[in-house]
């Protein structure tokens, strides 16, 4: 996909957040008392349930809305969500699996060169924002893809976007901009 570089850039997805609905009311107390690996938070009104495989942490609300975080791929997220629904089914609730949607994907990527942040900001005002007093990285937002980048001077970046495809496209888009402000490493 990276036509502008010789070697492929490794985009590693570190977190996928997804939500789905069970379309039925859930009794949090039952889940809290009869499930393993659950944490009940009555002040907020939700139950945290952790699955081991795939490693997923789910926030379960009594309305039937569930948010799953911690998966490393979209498929994993879906599998984990289904596992979770199956678990709830076994606890006795009439769950249905509906409205599954991946909400956020976080990925990290490392460029083989260092980046001159000040020049990068100058070239890309006002989309890029750099405040060294507050945060060591430049924040670059792509509006139409709804993706946000954090670019560090060492060449590593973190990307967040609505899905994996958007993230990949966003990295491709930003690569040439980074390439022109690179600093060739001497070692």
């Amino acid at each position: 996909m990276d036509s502008s570089s010789d070697e492929a850039l490794d985009i590693i997805i570190t977190n996928v957040v997804a939500t789905f609905r069970t379309r039925c009311h859930l009794n949090l107390r039952t889940i809290a008392l009869e499930g393993t690996n659950v944490i009940y938070k009555p002040e907020v009104g939700k139950v945290l349930m952790k699955l081991r495989k795939p490693t997923i942490t789910a926030s379960i609300w009594s309305s039937g809305k569930i948010i799953c975080t911690g998966a490393t791929s979209e498929d994993d997220a879906k599998l984990g969500a289904r596992r979770l629904a199956r678990c709830l089914q076994k606890l006795g609730f009439k769950v249905k699996f509906s409205a599954f949607r991946v909400v956020n994907v976080l990925a990290v990527c490392s460029m083989p060169f260092a980046i001159h942040l000040i020049d990068f900001t100058k070239n890309n005002r006002p989309i890029a924002s750099y405040e060294p007093e507050l945060h060591p990285a430049v924040t670059y937002r792509i509006k139409n893809l709804k993706a946000t980048f954090q670019v560090f001077s060492t060449g590593s970046l973190t990307v967040t976007g609505p899905n994996v495809q958007a993230v990949a496209t966003a990295v491709e888009q930003v690569y040439p901009l980074l390439f022109e402000v690179r600093k060739p490493l001497c070692k």
Binding site: R23, A32, L33, E34, G35, T36, N37, Y40, P42, E43, L51, K53, D75, D76, K78, L79, R82, R83, A85, R86, C87, Q89, K90, L91, V95, K96, F97, S98, A114, H116, L117, I118, T121, K122, R125, P126, S129, Y130, E131, P132, E133, L134, P136, A137, F152, S153, T154, G155, K183, L185, C186, K187
Partner: protein, 692 residues
Amino acid sequence: MSSRVCQTCGGSDIDVDQARGSAVCTGCGSVLEDNIIVSEVQFVEGSGGVSSTVGQFVSADGPAKAPLLGSGFHVSVGKESRAQTLQSGKRQIQQLGSQLQLNQHCLDTAFNFFKLVVSKHLTRGRKMEHVIAACLYLVCRTEGTPHMLLDLSDLLQVNVYILGKTFLLLARELCINAPAIDPCLYIPRFAHMLEFGVKTHEVSMTALRLVQRMKRDWMHMGRRPSGLCGAALLVAARMHKFRRSVKDVIGVVKVCQTTLRKRLTEFEDTPTSQLTIDEFMRVDLEQECDPPSFTAGQHKAKMQQLEQELARKLDEVEGEISCYKDEIESELEKSRPKLSGIYAAYSKEISQSTPAPEDEDVLSTTSEPEEMDSEDADLQAATQHLTQDFLCQVIQEEEGHGKKTDEGFCEQEAEPETEGPRAFLPPLSVILGKLPSAASLGLQTFSESEASTKPSDEPPESGELNLEGIDDQEIEKYILNDKEVRVKTELWMKQNEEYLKEQKEKEDRINKEKEEGTYKEKKKKYKKREQIEASTVGEAIEKMLERKKISSKINYDVLKDLNGSTGGSSPLTPDLPSGTPTQKRLSRRRRKTSETKPDFSTSTIIMRKRFRCLISATPKKKALPQAEHATLPAAEAKEPEAELSPDAIPDLGSASTVAPPPIEEEEDEVEEECVSALQLVGDYGCEEEEVF
């Protein structure tokens, strides 16, 4: 004015005489205008021949002082608020700015930013302090003054990141691209604070050079500029034989010790640090370094690689050592002295158990027995075999050295068996990797992984749960059995007693109220606006006011007096015969305000304010008169509407999403009402301005 046409003759040549204040047509001589209001500056000669201007300068920011006579207070209820905001903002800016020692030009610029911010409604929901601070910092950045966000946060005692957030938002909204911070800007300021006396300038120069060198070595990327400055100043001071300690510098520069030391270390790593002072002042090295965090990352990667290699090499060495150990053991066996008494019994026991496959039992009973209830025998045998070898050899190597001479060898053998797995896990885990951890910790996980299936394909989109690829057995493990449930319930109940008590009390309270009939169900607030349903006019007003927030800038007392002085229910019972239509209009007004779109904002603002005045002024009023009037509605309403519609339709062309006819009628009412309200109330002079 200049292109006016004379009504009499049609000529366009009109002579305007400013002195007389008249406009006369030169064609026919007819006077078009008399008493023109003159807006020129006039001069008057005062005593002693001094000429001065007539009149006052009025500030463009609105009536700041001395409201006009009589009707003055209500000059513009809306504008007054804005003017007040700007005034207080200006005051705060002056205050804060003088503490920072900013010059007047900067303060004026900051005030201009503030005006922009207020006009864009960005002050809503934010503390005034934060907004002011952000405006000031914006000015500092654009002017390039050596003020840090930290200084502002120190003065205000606010978290610097909160100020930063506000600052970033304002910069984005106002489209102001502040140039990046240059550490060189701060050097003179900090040098001055460090009191170098006469040599301040020289030290500054040296420090500047150092900072520039650091910039070229990529040390400033992503770091706070004050840290760099601190390091540079420290070195420069030492170079010029000033004794400034780290503590002095960090007090001035506002970073912590660790940061300063880190910067110094990083600078030390660059080749420039190897130069002598004179060389540094003269020569500039060409080579640039990599950013320090990058080198640190690479260093870490290298260390990891080295560790892996070491681990591999250790394995090989292990193999060699084990051979030697075997030989030595056999030799020692032969030459061991015969023991009597207790030790004999021990040695017999152990020598019996060591070679047998029940070794695992010994291990398991001494170490973690509970994990040994797994089903997989093969794994166990393998682990047992491995532990047998490695345990004996490696542990003996570590712990046996000191003990060899003291106690008997039989005891040594006993110890590794017993203590081996436990004390042993940390060092082994590094060398051997996963095997001992699997043996001692969770063989369950092994069995689980074997039993599980691979992830499935994408199931079709439906409400039903696709059970492909989900292993029920595994899921069962996530659910506790009855006994466990009971235990957990007990624990949980104990833990959350307080909360449960609260919940119970709440329920009791609700039940009691239900019985008494005073229970008010609290509906959840939805973002979509609901229609106000009220049986009486008064109710409707109340409900609407509940929803819309009443402004804090209206002085209700005065309004109360106003309404009170003109007698009880003055606005509602006007002199005009259109009393009842007014009532109906009121009711319709209310409906309108609840449905209205922002297009009619000005008129609704008027309405809203009037309502508030009315409501606040007339709490004691009974709903009865209003109710009566409100019931008049439909029939009589039609008549005035009919007359109004032809007039008003051309005025208000825009229609909202509601059906045009009703809206137009309502709009007409609005316009109509504005005029009549003026007559009614008399002193709402402001409405004139607002309507237009």
